[in-house]
């Protein structure tokens, strides 16, 4: 034990200097999910351009598979400017990525973001951006 202790004086520390040095994450780390509005098949109410959408969309029901499968009930469909979009409540999310797996359109993707700690729980509710029809952020 004594020899082991002495040898530690000359070895690299086991700890890293977070937050100054960020850890290298594996490429498919399960961080905050990203929602791609273009890929999703939620219907925009009042939209007539539904030729590319599937049958459920034409009758005005979005698929909501993510809402149905979420074990933490962290996803809900909200209406923003007359458009029905999923809202991700990261305060309830358990980062299991079942929604990523379930989404038939691959509209939910991974991001490497893991620094979600906050003092305001409400800031973790990601309201869908009503203007984000074209850009995919």
């Amino acid at each position: 034990m004594f020899r082991r202790t002495i040898s530690h004086i000359f070895t690299k520390p086991a700890t890293t200097k977070y937050p100054f040095v960020k850890p290298k994450l594996p490429e498919d780390f399960r961080g905050e999910t990203q929602y791609q509005v273009n890929a999703c098949n939620v219907i925009e109410l009042g939209s007539t351009d539904s030729l590319t959408l599937d049958v459920r969309s034409i009758v005005g029901v979005n698929c909501s598979v993510c809402v149905r499968d979420c074990p933490a009930k962290a996803i809900e469909i909200v209406e923003v400017d007359g458009k029905r979009r999923p809202q991700f409540n990261f305060d309830r999310c358990v980062f299991c990525y079942q929604c990523v797996e379930s989404c038939p359109r691959k509209a939910i993707t991974s991001s490497g973001l893991y620094e979600l700690a906050t003092t305001d729980k409400k800031s973790l509710i990601k309201k869908p951006n009503p203007n984000a029809t074209e850009d995919t952020k």
Binding site: P26, R30, Q98
Partner: protein, 524 residues
């Protein structure tokens, strides 16, 4: 006697031929249907035929007009379930505690959650439920809506009656520096010597068994995974393994190997955690720091293979959710090799270091016969010479194809229990190495139906702390009808209650930590 093959099913059949019905292949090797208190006779016949007969769990079911009871018993080579029923308006049944003392906790749990009265094992107050839970409402009955129950007001902070005489009661928990999780143990001491230990469980009872009845099978995998943070992959496997048995799905070979890798990584980090934590409990903090430092690379491997360092969320019905990348395999192997090189140093500390020997040897000695009687599982049982390991006894997934040693010590003390884990760390590294070398090609998951047909099944697996047991009853809808979990700590707690008596109060922490207790598991 224990080594020769005992055909327990035919023994029960010949001795109780006209009294019981036997269904082969159901709920383990066979399900025995009994009525009118004959369950005791079946237990007696089994105990006579096989000295290793031990209780695994008692599942309570709400069957409408009746309450069902499933006594799950393990013998040296079989798994038997005894069915019994009691009417709901007069739910009385005779206890089996006089035959198998290890059934005491299981009976108290069923009494608290389903209201079955076990004659001969009286319950005093709540066992798992809160003190504020109203009397006469049993949450696992189908007519009870858990979120509509009105709790009683909290009991007033009355003056505690002091103990008179030489006997002093020391309350450990629910908030105590030595316990990381909340649970209460009232330890009565006479001078320095412990004379009585009274547990009060249920401080982290979240009602997960009830909650899983209102979620889909897919959501339940993630819910049961959160019963315990440390052995999360084991809980997820226990659930999907049981569902796959009802579905009669066979997962692809590659998935079986990937599951073994996940489960063994789980065991590795759990054992390193508890080996270090034991150092903390006896005041050997350097050891704690060393072990936890070396556990960190294992956490990184879990993150690498699953995407998250604690909750792997890899198990799913039909296989695993993500494949292992070929480019990651060398990194896994080098990390494990580095850990293997450090093991001789740790083993030498655990076997020879004077402070470890002084604090752990001959502390909490549990004999082999007591280990069987009380139904011990996992490293606690194996340290007492009771050689049970589900990976060997009833190989699941790829364990039947992977060579590994079953670690058994005969000392039965705290020191032996920690050394079983120490040796198992190396075996786990060997298992992962072998599994990665022999990883079959092909798909890693198959599509499984979301709705499960009517049926019931049991599944056992060797979690880091011991045998973990799952029972699921399906009613053909998207949600399960009943999910029963018997966790290893729940089975192992009676060991502490027995061995602490007669020893010094200073030996309580090392004795207790040698069970690797997990109360989140225990209470569910």
């Amino acid at each position: 006697m224990s080594n020769s093959k005992i055909d327990i099913v035919s023994i029960v059949e010949s001795k109780l031929k006209d009294k019981v019905q036997i269904q082969l292949g159901q709920l383990g090797n066979a399900a025995v249907n009994t009525s009118n208190g004959l369950h005791r006779d079946v237990v007696k016949v089994m105990l006579e035929a096989d000295e290793k007969t031990a209780i695994v769990a008692i599942t309570g079911l709400d069957l409408g007009a009746n309450l069902g009871l499933l006594y799950h018993l393990r013998t040296s080579n079989a798994f038997i379930t005894i069915r019994a029923e009691v009417p709901k308006d007069n739910p009385k049944i005779q206890t089996i505690v006089d035959l198998i003392p290890g059934a005491a906790f299981s009976e108290l749990e069923v009494a608290d959650l389903l209201g079955v009265v076990f004659e001969g094992n009286p319950s005093s107050g709540h066992f798992l439920l809160s003190e504020q839970w109203p009397e006469g409402i049993f949450p696992l009955r189908k007519d009870v809506k858990a979120n509509e129950v009105k709790l009683n007001p909290p009991p007033p902070e009355g003056a505690r009656t002091p103990e008179i005489g030489r006997q002093v009661k020391i309350i450990i928990g629910p908030q105590h520096p030595a316990l990381l999780e909340p649970e209460k143990f009232a330890v009565t001491v006479d001078g320095e010597i412990v004379t009585k230990v009274e547990p009060r469980l249920g401080y982290v009872h979240r009602g997960i068994e009830k909650a899983s009845e209102s979620r889909t099978y897919l959501q339940d995998v993630y819910l049961v995974e959160r019963i315990c943070g440390i052995c999360n992959a084991c809980h997820a496997y226990g659930f999907v393994g049981t569902v796959e048995k009802i579905l009669k799905t066979d997962v692809p070979p590659r998935a079986k190997y990937l599951r073994v890798v996940t489960l063994e990584l789980n065991r590795l980090h759990s054992h390193l955690l508890t080996l270090g934590h034991a150092g903390l409990e006896i005041g050997y903090e350097t050891l704690f720091q060393y072990f936890w430092r070396d556990r960190e690379p294992i956490m990184d491997l879990i993150e690498l293979t699953s995407g998250n360092r604690v909750y792997s969320s890899l198990m799913t019905v039909g296989g695993v959710r993500r494949d292992i990348r070929d480019t990651d395999i060398p990194r896994i192997k080098t990390t494990l090799e580095e850990l293997r090189k450090k093991l001789p140093f740790y083993r030498q500390i655990y076997t020879n270091e004077a402070s470890i020997k002084a604090r752990m040897q001959n502390v909490g000695v549990l004999s082999r016969s007591d280990a069987i009687k009380l139904g011990m599982v996992g490293p606690v049982a194996r340290a007492s010479g009771y050689d049970i390991d589900v990976r060997k006894d009833e190989p699941y997934e790829a364990y039947g194809e992977i060579p590994f040693k079953e670690i058994v010590y005969t000392e039965g003390d705290t020191w032996a229990r920690m050394n079983v884990r120490m040796d198992e760390v190396e075996e786990s590294i060997n298992i992962i190495d072998y599994a990665l070398d022999h990883l079959p090609t092909g798909p890693f998951r198959i599509d499984a139906p979301r709705n499960v047909p009517i049926g019931e099944a049991v599944c056992r697996l060797e979690a880091p702390r011991g045998e973990l047991f799952y029972y699921i009853k399906s009613n053909g809808t998207a949600n399960p009808d009943r999910v029963k979990v018997r966790t290893p700590t729940f089975a192992n707690l009676p060991s502490f209650l027995k061995t602490a008596i007669g020893e010094s109060i200073a030996d309580v922490p090392p004795n207790f930590v040698s069970l690797d207790p997990c109360f989140s598991c225990t209470d569910r």
